[in-house]
């Protein structure tokens, strides 16, 4: 790692204030991506603003037809939340599938969304559920939030404080793991709300998370995995690497979508 100055503010407001003053600053959430990146000397922020003590950025709250999760809420807490398991079981399920137990004990939802790794799980949930990303400055709809690989609508010094998810009628998540890293090669989040079905795919797209409109159309006609028989996703725009080429990813999207639909509740 290159040297940096470490900050540990105790509230979201203070964190934003430090970020406003510090040159070349990065927020540290769980650190599950940022710290390895810094260790490999691929990132070298001059200032590191650790959000671990920002207690106002933690917690899960269910109000009316939506769930709000503090940005610093760990994957383990999302996975184990009884309320969330009732409200949006697919989201709790997804959190329990991220990384390994030690990673889930540190990694946070806000960190994952801010990083927007194209193989991360949360972006699929945020996009499919139509989440709202709340920052210290504004509210950003998921549709507008994910702008590319590791790219988001977040501006310099802007920090995610919480995320609000509308509660769907039914949702399910299934992923196909990279055999080596265990990140998603293809992750498909299927959500049905009223007559609308939204399907978001992570891991596969060369531009990051995206909505699979072809699958959405089929499931909107009838919300059943049978509706997806013969639905072929195009391979264009999908990633190819040593573990999976675009054609295989395209195929897996349909398979994972079927399985997510079968799991949906």
């Amino acid at each position: 790692m290159y040297p940096f100055t470490y900050h540990q503010p105790d509230s979201a407001r203070k964190a934003a204030s430090v970020a406003g003053k510090a040159e070349d600053a990065k927020f540290l959430a769980g650190g599950m991506t940022l710290l390895p990146t810094m260790k490999q000397r691929l990132a070298s922020p001059a200032n590191l603003i650790d959000l671990a003590k920002c207690d106002d950025m933690r917690g899960i709250e269910i109000k009316g037809r939506s769930v709000t999760i503090g940005a610093m809420t760990r994957h383990v807490d999302v996975a184990n939340s009884k309320e969330l398991q009732e409200a949006i079981p697919a989201l709790a399920d997804l959190a329990g599938m991220i990384g390994d137990p030690a990673v889930r004990n540190r990694g946070t939802i806000g960190g994952s969304l801010a990083n927007n790794d194209p193989a991360a799980d949360y972006p699929a949930a945020a996009l499919a559920l139509g989440a709202t990303i709340v920052t210290n400055k504004r509210k950003i709809e998921a549709e507008d939030y994910f702008t590319g690989l590791f790219e988001t609508a977040l501006e310099e010094g802007e920090v995610i404080t919480k995320i609000t998810f509308p509660i769907p009628a039914k949702a399910g998540y299934e992923k196909f793991r990279n055999p080596a890293s265990r990140y998603a090669i293809v992750g498909v989040f299927v959500a049905k709300k009223g007559s609308e079905v939204r399907v978001a795919v992570t891991g596969a797209g060369s531009g990051g998370v995206f909505r699979a409109t072809k699958i959405e159309a089929a499931l909107t006609a009838k919300f059943s995995s049978k509706s997806l028989e013969g639905v072929k996703m195009p391979a264009e725009g999908l990633n190819s690497d040593i573990h999976a080429d675009a054609e295989y990813r395209a195929h897996l999207i349909t398979v994972m979508a079927k399985r997510a639909t079968d799991k949906a509740k």
């Binding site: 290159y2 000397r41 080596a180 040593i242």
Partner: protein, 788 residues
């Protein structure tokens, strides 16, 4: 059998320190005043070094020194060596390019050592290393073996203008051609044996130390064979003469072959310790391990098997290209030659075999022995051929093997080896029974109902272990003898230290060797300690690899114990006032035949040292004996593994449902430890078959340089293993041991691939059979079946 004697599953003596965090691995060792080394490595697969500018780096905080290949040359430090001479068909010696520990003029793979930066702290050394400016003249890489031997290919070493280290062969070509000429059926197969990275969990590390007062060097290093390291560092590299160089291999966190070799990093650490006047430490990070540990396997093979009209094998011909990487590593030349082709006869009666092997240079990391070394490659060739030939001729694969098994011993194969003992049928029958082979069809139908494809695959392997008779390997080109040494020191109160030239890095020698001593001398296992891994304590040894420590290392201990017993009998005779011919030794007691006079072992030990009962002229005081054991033959562990698996044709995901292993390791000292060795070997074999593969792109960049991209088998990738044994004693060593360390890694890959091909309608699946590869094969099978 006592609770701690031979044959008992004694819990390991070494475990206490490991489960409490008190192991001492090389990186745990810190010497006073220690500095840290970081290597500047080549980012290019192939380039000339025009200039190395260290001016800015030397000014960085904490930097003590920066050395390059020129400094090594100025100090007349020799290059790294390959210790096994292979001759080509035409009699010419192999073409070994120079291998300096720091590059001289040219780099030949990504990760090649260009310079070393030594600083007060690791962080300082790493920062300064980034400031070393190297002006490279980038040359085209050559990664692919077929491309490397084409005319006009980039030349890796000038001594081998066609990038060919040797064109070697073994067997009788004319007899083999004749066998094929009369064949009723010929099975042909193209095989890739995928390149692997050993990945012992402990990365390599070294601490070099130099004492000005005595002009002595000490090297702490992650080695499977510290004495060989000292020999090479002294006699060939020229660090210091052996009596001035101590090599210590403390607790070592796994080796699997990769820690046999003498690498640049430990050479530099020990050399630089004197130059900077401070101890110098280096520990690899995982990416460095991927880039610079010697890799394993990497063969391309075309193989053919000739059968007669009764399904008997007539002959085998094999043509292999073996990737040896950019330099010849310590034993690399022997792996695809003498550790490979002599095993091509498998467990079968094959009248004629001819094998050709071309060793090829490429601009990739050196390739050397990895668990099994040559024998997994041979087993994969023969066991895939057996499977395909059985299918092609419509015979059950188990029956096809039965028909061709060697059934009488000794059996001289056409490729050097003389199998001394075995019962291949017994292992097969037992494995079939344990695997419930007869009901596979039923289970296949049950899987089909769930939309899954079930397959079963057999692998009947043989390996040559207990390497090796020194004269025999000498005649084949080995630069060293492969005996082992032991010294048994009995202390005055009857406790025993055994000094062995073997090295334990997970195998549990501190327990199994103690079991031998305990049962032989009738003393508690707690009163025996095993000393290894330090050249100042153990005079000489050849180390641990090739499943040799039981068969060779323990045989040396037996020989030393024989001498201890003989001497102790003489001492007892004086004490008991009898003739030593009348002394019997049993259950830890010396007694005079036909009397009730006796004395126990500790008392004899005491008498040997106080020496009151005999004069020094008649008998030397003390009780300490040493021995060297040189085996008379290889040992031939063999067995049958059966893999049964289910494929999800929708995703290509494969789940191994059952694993059955039946092995014949001869006599077994500690079944618990032996089974553990089998388990670990199988997991590595499954890793090769389904998960692991080192991939270079065309520019010679390693795409799989971390656990993000190189798939290590994890707990949920492998099944529980059902392990059984059969037993035929090995006739060539006193304990009847054959060796067990590599069996699983040798047996497993063809078992998996045979099962997979069975599952997907006999479509060929290459290793590693990753989900995408299996999915494609399953799609092909479905399309073909639809067409049919």
């Amino acid at each position: 059998m006592s609770e701690t004697g031979i044959g008992a599953s004694v819990r390991r003596k070494e475990d206490f320190r490991f489960i409490t965090g008190n192991g001492h691995y090389t990186d745990d060792i810190n010497r006073p005043g220690q500095a840290h080394a970081v290597f500047v490595r080549s980012p290019h697969a192939h380039a000339t070094i025009k200039k190395i500018d260290v001016v800015a780096a030397l000014k960085m905080p904490g930097v003590l020194a920066i050395y390059t290949g020129d400094d090594l040359a100025a100090d007349k430090i020799g290059g790294l060596i390959c210790g096994w001479m292979i001759h080509s068909k035409d009699g010419s010696p192999m073409k070994a390019g120079a291998h300096p520990a720091l590059a001289q003029g040219k780099v030949r793979y990504v990760g090649d050592h260009v310079a070393v930066v030594i600083a007060d702290t690791y962080a300082q050394a790493r920062e300064a290393a980034e400031k070393v400016v190297v002006d490279y003249g980038v040359l085209p890489a050559v990664v692919d073996m077929e491309a490397a031997v084409k005319k006009g290919a980039p030349v890796v070493h000038d001594v081998a203008s066609d990038n060919t280290v040797y064109n070697w062969h073994l067997g009788d070509k004319a007899a083999t051609e004749a066998a094929f000429a009369k064949a009723k059926h010929v099975t042909k197969l193209d095989i890739v044996n995928n390149r692997l990275v050993p990945n012992a969990m402990e990365p390599r590390a070294a601490v070099g130390d130099y004492d000005f007062g005595s002009d002595c060097f000490t090297l702490y290093t992650t080695s499977q064979n510290p004495h060989v390291a000292r020999l090479v560092l002294s006699a060939f590299i020229g660090i210091a003469p052996e009596h001035k160089l101590r090599v210590i291999a403390p607790d070592v966190g796994g080796g699997f072959g990769s820690k046999i070799f003498i690498y640049a990093e430990e050479t530099i650490c020990v050399w630089a310790a004197k130059k900077v006047g401070r101890p110098v430490k280096w520990t690899a990070d995982r990416t460095e391990a991927f880039l610079s540990d010697a890799h394993g396997r990497d063969h391309i093979t075309h193989a053919e098997m000739a059968l007669d009209d009764k399904g008997k094998i007539l002959g085998l011909r094999v043509n292999t290209k073996a990737n040896l990487g950019a330099y010849l590593s310590t034993f690399s030349s022997s792996v695809p030659t003498y550790l490979y082709a002599p095993l091509l006869s498998g467990q079968y009666n094959i009248p004629a075999i001819y094998c050709e092997v071309d060793g090829i240079y490429t601009t990739t990391a050196p390739v050397d022995a990895y668990r099994g070394a040559g024998r997994p490659e041979a087993t994969f060739v023969i066991e895939r051929l057996m499977e395909v030939a059985a299918r092609e001729t419509g015979v059950d694969p188990a029956q096809f093997r039965r028909k061709n098994f060697v059934t009488s011993f000794p059996h001289q194969t056409p490729v050097i080896m003389c199998y001394d003992a075995g019962n291949y049928n017994a292992a097969l029958e037992k494995a079939l029974e344990m695997a419930d082979y007869k009901n596979v069809g039923k289970r296949k139908r049950e899987s089909a109902k769930k939309g899954l494809l079930r397959g079963v695959g057999i692998s009947a392997y043989i390996e040559a272990c207990g390497i090796a008779p020194s004269a025999a390997v000498g005649s084949l080109g080995a630069g060293v003898g492969l005996w082992e040494s032991a010294e048994v020191r009995v202390n005055p109160i009857g406790t025993v230290e055994v000094l062995t030239g073997s090295h334990s890095h997970g195998q549990g020698h501190e327990t199994t060797f103690a079991q031998l001593v305990s049962s032989r001398l009738g003393i508690s296992i707690d009163n025996v300690s095993i000393v290894h891994g330090d050249t100042d304590k153990v005079q000489m040894g050849m180390g641990t690899y090739g499943s040799r420590s039981g068969a060779v290392g323990m045989s040396a201990i037996v020989k030393a114990l024989d001498k201890i017993e003989a001497k102790a009998k003489k001492v007892a005779a004086y004490v008991l006032e009898a003739s030593d011919k009348d002394i019997e030794f049993k259950d830890g007691k010396f007694s005079v035949k036909g009397t009730d006079k006796s004395i126990d072992f500790p008392s004899v030990a005491l008498q040997a040292y106080i020496a009151h009962k005999f004069s020094g002229q008649e008998l030397e005081p003390g009780l300490k004996e040493s021995a060297f054991w040189d085996p008379t033959n290889f040992t031939f562990p063999a067995g049958v593994h059966i893999c049964e698996l289910e494929v999800d044709p929708q995703t290509g995901v494969t789940r191994i449902d059952r694993w059955t292993a039946v092995d014949d390791f001869g006599e077994v000292i500690n079944p618990m430890i032996v089974e553990g060795q089998v388990h670990g070997g199988i997991a590595q074999g499954i890793g090769q078959a389904m998960h692991e593969g080192a991939i270079y792109n065309k520019d010679g960049q390693l795409l799989t340089a971390s656990y993000m991209d190189y798939t290590m088998p994890r707990a949920d990738d492998v099944p529980s293993y059902n392990v059984g044994m059969t037993q035929t004693r090995c006739p060539s060593n006193p304990l009847g041991i054959k060796g067990c360390g590599e069996a699983g890694a040798i047996a497993a890959p063809p078992a998996v691939i045979n099962a997979l091909t069975d599952a997907v309608g006999h479509e060929n699946v290459a290793m590693p059979a990753t989900p995408i590869a299996v999915w494609r094969a399953a799609q092909k099978a479905i399309t073909r079946q639809a067409a049919e």
